[in-house]
């Protein structure tokens, strides 16, 4: 078991095992050069995780299990993506959505429901799925407009 070390811009030096790495063979859309990521817990008890690239020190996405905000979110995975991920009904998987927060405006946090990240836990494979269904927004607002600002 080898412990790998990697210096990140946000978290300083991190260490991880090979088995912790999730490989996105096509990257995350718009970031084709970063293929390998590790998941980092944001804070104790927080629903958020960071998906930190271990190819590019400055690249990390904040992600959250969509079920935390939307218990009914369970889109059907396109066949092509299931094939690429080598996922079938019995495969253990994780689903995350990428979070966007405009600078200084946590109340305007959005989730990208149209491009969820699906991870095949058994094989450490990940993929950003593109959902064509217009019912899944690229910018799904989490907190109602005019709602009180959440604690930052």
């Amino acid at each position: 078991m080898t412990l790998n070390r990697f210096t990140t811009s946000r978290f300083g030096e991190i260490s991880f095992e090979d088995a912790d790495v999730v490989t996105f063979s096509e990257g995350v859309l718009g970031f084709p050069d970063s293929r390998r990521y590790v998941l980092i817990q944001h804070r104790e008890g927080s629903p958020f995780r960071w998906m930190q690239s271990v190819d590019e020190s400055g690249l990390a996405f904040l992600v959250v299990d969509p079920a935390h905000y939307l218990p009914d979110f369970s889109p059907e995975m396109p066949v092509a993506d299931a094939e690429q991920l080598r996922i079938d009904e019995g495969t253990a998987r994780l689903v995350y959505t990428i979070v966007t927060i405009p600078p200084g405006r946590a109340e305007e946090m959005t989730l990208n429901l149209a491009g969820p990240l699906v991870i095949n836990c058994d094989e450490g494979l990940g993929r950003q799925i593109v959902l064509e269904d217009p019912g899944y927004s690229v910018r799904h607002r989490v907190f109602a407009e005019g709602a009180a600002k959440p604690a930052a």
Binding site: G30, N112, A114, Q128, V130, L131, A152
Partner: protein
């Protein structure tokens, strides 16, 4: 960009690494063109708009400030 002129019922073929993808022009009505894509089922095919929207959203998400994250 390569530009090709096709008529209804004609197609183009894209070949990469031994994978063959056919794009057929099925129907043209005014400004609407119906295309049929024949590709291996492991090849995702998307409308360009949603693809670009997700790319743009990913770009915005990658610049997130950790201080802005709610509990």
């Amino acid at each position: 960009m390569l530009v090709l002129t096709r008529k209804v019922d004609q197609s183009i073929v894209i070949v990469q690494d031994g994978v063959v993808i056919e794009v057929h022009v099925l129907d043209v009505r005014g400004e609407q063109v119906r295309l049929g894509v024949k590709a291996p089922k492991s090849t995702p095919v998307h409308r360009e708009e949603i693809f670009r929207q997700i790319q743009a959203s990913n770009q915005a998400a990658s610049a997130i400030n950790p201080d802005d994250i709610p509990e």
